[in-house]
Amino acid sequence: MKTKYILIFLLVAGVTSLFSSCKKSFLEVEPIGLELESNYYNTPEQVFNGLVAAYSNMSSETDYGINWYANKLAPLNAAADECYAGGGGESDMASYQVWDNYTLTAADGPQSKFWDMDYSGIYRCNLMLQKLQNDIPGLGTDLKNRYIAECKALRAYYYFELIRLFKNIPLFTDPVPTDAIYDQVQAKPEDVFALIEKDLKEAEPVLPPTVPSTENGRLTKGAAQAMLGKVILWQNNTARMLEAADWFNKVNTSGIYQLLANYPDIFSPAYKYNKESILEIGHSGSQQAWWGTGDYRGNIYSTMVGPRSYSAGPGADSDHTYYSGWSFNPIIKSFATSIHDDPRYKYTVADLDSLKKLGQADYMPGYKNTGLFIQKYAPLLKWKAAVGEPVLNWPNNVIEIRLADTYLMEAEALVRGGGSTARAQALLDAVRDRVKLPSKPATLDNIYEERRLELATEGHRWFDLVRTGKAATVLAFKGFVAGKHELLPIPLNDLNNTKLVQNPLY
């Protein structure tokens, strides 16, 4: 019987000890490999990680299946008179197709991706600006101020994209409090512009004029100045044109930037962050991404614009030897014809049909095939990634603002604001002279025409058409309705349960 009592004792002891282990402490567990927000942003490294996240939204290569493969070029080019949406079929990437043929609705279109990516960027900037008000051990004042300036400039960048596409948007300078999420309303556009300009003006003096090559892609003083000029120009206020010109002038005369002698070098991965580049979105060919790994940092837009089922023939040179893609954004014939005689044509348009005739290429026509593909970001075989799924790892960067653009914008602002015509003429001539074209009078029409030729398929055309009021005429053939299609519809998800109001006519 002794054993009986010993066992009972042990059991009772076991039960009692468990009761005590059932206390709260048993349930207080620590996360594995996850930092808590309350403890984060406390070291220089953590703050830098937050800054990276704030930059991250400038390019939005996301995972398979989200219907948003690449940067914003694909939908913007599809919307303009330069390209069709293209792709594999009439509803391949339906969100591009409906901007191409202007059948956008709240539910259909690319708007939610622009909206979500930009607001996500704004949130990250707002959060960083909040956190950077704290004392962060080990983070020097200069660096801290630079981070603050970068976050402000980034916030301005995201808001500028939103206001151009949607006009009527809610405005936040802090993370939206949880209990006020559904109470937000759209701000007056002028208030948004005011914040954008304020942010840029505060950032501009602090941002470094240049960065070491390892920091290429970080925002600089020149980028902020160029953005400021663009923001003012966009508002179409004649009285402020010289103000805009002045900002562009600061960039154009800084001595930091210069036009590259050889036009196609601007877009070549061999010349990333070249002298002409003011604001550039970085991509990498060495991420070794595979389908499903997510957060792609290669340039998938290159894959998108590549010809389908491509094979090279004998005699194809390395600038015209491609890797198979998905045939998005075929260049519209009439557009190609209109720039055909320009020296920049062959660097802008990949004429696969001509190559096919020469036996140097074969490919399968995609939807709305024109035989003409985008050359500036084409997936050239020579840039194919050595490791990883090739279609996800193109190294091609996208330059958002380059010197030729700021030259032409300064010229435009000078002409519109009654500034120096000589200066405007010199700027236009410089852009033309680079490609060995003779001088043309610096009239507004000639400047706009030069923009069309110089910046074709670089994502500026649709915005240019809208801000110059030409969109309704030029894009009528695609179904553009004046008074409606200058803006994208507010995404359906943001109308659900909120106080937001849809844009007119949607």
Partner: protein, 1030 residues
């Protein structure tokens, strides 16, 4: 044969008295715990223990014993002291002798006050189904089991008394006292199951307060019985085929329709001579296999002496799929050892341990229109040939430039690649070839060891340590292939392996005290339980470009550079629960019954404000027919009323959602190729997260009528509040992820009825059961949201279904059609109150949309609620008929009242094949009033979610039809067997439904419940089986 007992003790006992002992069984030979044995005319006696044994002392050497059990005929017999007796009691129609498992203990079914459904081994033995859930389908009212797919090894979607919560309605599985979490019940060999109890109401389930909100399924595995060793073999072999084929267009019909759509859309003729294309390729015939085998073999050995019993089993189950069996199949090997030992009179020790190994291939999506075999077979054009034999074709694109990577059949012929249908759709046979090297596997050790101490009479202390040790992983091999422009792997093969493991443990300590105070029978249970589910992790690696050509040869013994073998790993976040609980059962003369339960659970999923949840319940029962005033009659033999109320909880959310955690949220490239990872908050925090609560009211009537009819009627009302949901925030918040909140409430009201009829006429043995449940589900609150979006359309962002107050969960939501415009006049006549055309852009042949909000134009606001995806009415019928050595089983079940969203055709691929219904499209006035014109180009006839896609989901299905023959005992003995039975069985022989897809049963989680995107259908199977005992 049953062995006994305790004879050894009798000599030691005082000589003045005699020992009376024995075993009480029912007429089937099953032992009866709780039977009363008394000496006639005295109060001396005892009740039988869990094994049906009784033993007591009486002063006389001879006695007349009166043996009774509720529901049985009382029996008297002469006994001699010291000589054990066997007593077999005869039962009326409804067997009330059952003991049911109630969680941390058992209870005599007759005194149960909650709503507990019980399925016994006898009901399962003859049911050749692969999974536990299948065994429950249609068996018991209020338990809805919908196959998520016919994929071998696929879990079914099971819900008890309707959808309990928006965030999941999977019940808690407890196997031999060890909680086992959803999706992982497939380790169980269902031949090992002794009983399954379903705790349906909150009053019963409250003892498992945590996660019991959606009900609890208690599984008890077989134990050995004292006696001679029994060896049992049971097995079956069967073949499976598809039940039906979808009516798709053939090549000529397809070409005709495509031509028409192209012409109407402003394009040209695509196929100049459709007739020449003939019927083309039938892709369904390509993917469906014939006579796919399914088999099960099980050996078990059980037996023991009175102090130790054992049950050991070895099982194998193998099933090949009816779709592409080389990449859809499932194999399971199981071993089980259960044993109990009476070490001392006051000390028991035992264990239930099982090991299982599963290996499965699920090479295609079960219900997904983004590729997979079914989607490809449905959407591919019938023009593309299966294989290309024409060399001229091979010289063209896309073949010409991919001669090395196109997939070929055994004869070296290239598989055809569609020129018309692209995106994710590929030649299914070629696709199969690329998937053959992929499989998943799992090794599970599940079980517990326990010991019980009985220090004083009536008190049992029990301590049980249970756990589940799982190892699982997958291997996949991707060859170099070119399936289409968007589906290719042209550069390197890759070979991937992932390994994961997890240990969940549960430590349970209970004290149970039972005592009879006069006529007051009281049982008190107190217990504590700790659970930890933290210990999981996994690693994986991919080898890229190994020098092999086939998955058979793939291995990791190649040295590759680090770049070519990327790897990854992960750790589970910790998750712990701790609980204390108590239960009081009270019974007075089997007339008045009461059960009260209180459980307090703590979960690490909640922040310090709300760690603990308290879950009480109370239930009452009154057995009116046991009252003295109840007149003896032959109409109502038994009448019992039950009433209960209880609260259960749910902590179903990921770890650390009460706080804001930092994670990788997107990187950026600086410099040349320097990729930096960005970190930030993963989702806004919600520190006030608390337990989701489900309260349920239950009222039940049990009756036995006319001796042979059993009748159960139950009413319940279940309210779920504070549901833990992620909130899809407006995009302008900019959060990287969605936060959780306690936001919504839901109500389920229902009636359940069961009717049984059991009677024996000479050689004929009838056992008929029917059950039915009607459940009304309604969302009563959804927080600040007007609604939550469920599944969306593929060609637009319109939702197909939503969660909205006042409607059943995930109600279908869309535009409402009102026929097809036949003429321009009809369009002109469709005007609003101002005389303006409601659909000014319509063309004859387009849908006429109902202007449901009456605003004079068709807008998003004209969408309406168009149907319930979840069947409100479910029913099951079982007939067991025995005649001499023959037996017949018919089991049928069905549902009524739901709609299915049939979206088999990929709307965003204009060139996708059509179902035959498209042949009846509108082509001119009077041709069709329900199928609009076909055209390539902008129109919303098809891209809008509408009632056009909804079909009646009702069905009635003969699940099982089985005829068996049992060898007469004498004959069996002559060939050395105790029992022998052979049977032939058919599953899914017949389905009555109007639904046009493969299978009206479309489970698979709430998000896609009753949304058909090409569901892998269930097989029709024929099997023959043997069951022998030696």
């Amino acid at each position: 044969m049953a062995g006994f007992l305790l004879l050894g003790f009798s000599s030691a006992i005082a000589q003045k008295t005699s020992v009376y002992s024995g075993v009480v069984t029912n007429d089937k030979g099953e032992t009866l715990p709780g039977a009363t044995v008394i000496v006639k005319g005295t109060t001396v006696g005892s009740t039988t223990d869990l094994n049906g044994k009784f033993v007591f002392n009486y002063e006389k050497a001879n006695a007349t014993l009166v043996v009774s059990f509720i529901g049985s005929e009382t029996q008297e017999l002469q006994a001699v002291g010291g000589v054990p007796v066997n007593v077999s009691l005869k039962f009326a129609a409804v067997n009330l002798s059952e003991v049911v498992v109630v969680g941390y203990g058992t209870q005599k079914k007759s005194v149960v006050t909650g709503s507990i459904a019980s399925v016994k081994a006898a009901d399962l033995e003859n049911l050749p189904v692969p999974r536990l859930e299948d065994a429950l389908k249609g068996r018991t009212s209020g338990v809805t089991v919908a196959s998520s797919s016919g994929m071998p090894g696929a879990a079914s979607t099971i819900s008890i008394r309707g959808v309990t919560s928006i965030n999941g309605s999977s019940p808690l599985y407890v196997v031999d006292g060890v909680p086992v979490y959803e999706g992982s019940i497939d380790f169980l060999n269902q031949s090992d199951i002794e009983s399954i109890e379903v705790l349906k109401d909150a009053a019963s389930a409250a003892i498992y307060g945590t996660q019991a909100a959606a009900g609890v399924i208690l599984v008890t595995t077989k134990k050995g019985k004292a006696g001679d060793m029994q060896v049992n073999y049971s097995g079956y072999y069967g073949v499976q085929n598809r039940e039906k084929k979808i009516n798709l267009c053939n090549a000529t019909e397809y070409a005709t329709l495509r031509n028409e759509a192209s012409l109407l859309g402003g394009g040209g003729i695509l196929f100049p001579n459709p007739q020449a294309l003939d019927t083309g390729t039938d892709w369904q015939d390509v993917i469906f296999s014939q006579n796919a085998p399914v088999m099960n073999h099980e050996f078990s050995i059980s037996g023991g002496k009175d102090k130790s019993t054992y049950y050991a089993s070895f099982g194998y189950f193998g099933q090949q799929g009816i779709v592409a069996p080389s990449i859809t199949n499932f194999n399971r090997y199981t071993v089980r050892l259960n044993s109990t030992h009476q070490v001392k009179k006051w000390l028991n020790f035992g264990n239930n341990i099982s090991y299982s190994h599963t290996k499965s291939q699920s090479g295609t999506s079960a219900n997904d229109y983004y590729g997979g075999l079914l989607a490809s077979a449905i959407n591919l054009d019938p023009i593309t040939p299966l294989v290309i034999t024409d060399l001229d074709v091979l010289a063209q694109e896309p073949y010409a430039s991919h001669l090395q990577s196109i997939v070929r059949d055994a004869d070296g012929n290239a598989y055809g690649i569609s020129k018309y249908v692209g995106q994710e759709m590929t030649n299914p046979e070629a696709y199969i070839k690329t998937q053959e090297g992929n499989f998943g596997w799992g090794d599970n050790i599940v079980g517990n060891v326990f010991f019980e101490v009985m220090p004083v009479k009536g008190l049992t202390l029990r301590s049980s340590l249970g756990g589940k040790m799982s190892y699982w992983g997958h291997e996949s091999y991707s060859p170099i292939y070119f399936l289409s422009n968007t589906n290719s792997n042209l550069d390197h093969n890759s070979f991937q392996r992932e390994l994961a493991k997890a240990l969940d443990w549960t430590f349970t300590n209970t004290a149970t005290y039972t005592r009879l105070f006069g006529d007051h029978n009281v049982t008190l249970l107190l217990g504590t339980e700790g659970q930890d589910r933290s210990g999981g992790n996994g690693i994986g690696v991919t080898y890229i470009g190994i020098p092999v050509n086939n998955f058979d040869q793939a291995n990791m013994n190649y040295s590759l550079t680090a770049d070519n073998r990327p790897g990854w790993g992960y750790d589970y976040q910790p998750y712990r629960l701790s609980s204390i609980f108590g239960r009081l059962n009270y019974e007075y003369k089997e007339k008045y019954l009461f059960t009260g339960i209180l459980r307090r659970d703590g979960s690490s999923h909640f922040g310090s404000n709300n760690v603990f949840g308290l879950f009480p319940s109370a239930s009452f029962g009154w057995i009116a027919s046991n009252e003295d005033f109840w007149p003896k009659n032959d109409i109502v033999n038994l009448l019992k009323l039950r009433f209960g109320y209880g609260v259960n909880g749910n902590d179903n959310l990921p770890a650390f959602r009460y706080t804001s955690t930092i994670g990788s949220i997107g990187g950026y490239v600086f410099g040349n190729d320097q990729i930096y990872t960005g970190y930030g908050p993963q989702a806004p925090a919600n520190p006030d997260l608390r337990w989701e609560q489900t309260s349920q009211l239950n009222f039940g009537i049990d009756a036995t009528l006319f001796k042979y009819f059993g009748f159960v009627l139950e009413f319940f009302k279940k309210n779920t509040k504070d549901m833990l949901l992620t909130v899809k925030l407006p995009g302008y918040v900019g959060a990287s992820g969605s936060p959780y909140g306690n936001i919504a409430s839901m109500e389920n009201k229902g009636v359940e009825a069961e009717l049984t009829y059991r009677r024996t006429f000479d050689k004929l043995n009838l056992n008929l059961k029917g059950n039915m449940a009607y459940i009304k589900n309604k969302i009563t609150d959804i927080g600040v949201n007007d609604f939550l979006v469920n599944a969306t359309m593929i060609a637009s962002t319109y939702e197909v279904s939503r969660k909205v107050v006042g409607q059943p969960i995930n109600v279908f939501y869309g535009f409402v059609t009102d026929g097809v415009f036949q003429t321009q006049d009809e369009i002109n006549a469709y005007v609003n109150s101002e005389g303006k055309k409601i659909q000014p852009d319509a063309v004859p042949g387009d849908f006429k949309w109902k202007d449901t909000d009456g605003d004079g134009s068709i807008t998003d606001k004209d969408r309406d609620y168009t149907g319930n995806p979840i069947p409100p009415l479910t029913y099951g019928l079982t007939a067991n008929v025995g005649y001499g050595p023959f037996d017949l089983l018919v089991f049928a079940q069905g549902v009524y009242g739901n709609k299915i969203f049939q979206q088999l055709r990929r709307l965003d691929i204009l060139t996708a094949n059509y179902m035959n219904e498209a042949l009846g499209r509108w082509t001119g006035p009077g041709t069709s009033n329900d199928y609009p014109r076909l055209l390539d180009g902008a129109n919303n006839n098809f891209t809008r979610p509408s009632d056009f896609y909804l079909e009646d989901g009702a069905y009635f299905r003969i699940k099982t039809l089985q005829v068996g023959y049992a060898l007469p005992k004498k004959l069996a003995k002559q060939i050395g067997m105790e029992n022998a039975r052979i049977y032939v069985s058919g599953n899914n022989l017949f389905t009555m439904t109007k639904y046009t897809g493969y299978d009206p049963e479309i489970g698979g989680g709430q998000g896609i419940f009753s949304i058909d995107r090409g569901v892998y259908p269930q097989a029709r199977s024929f099997m023959c089986g043997v069951n022998v005992t030696f």
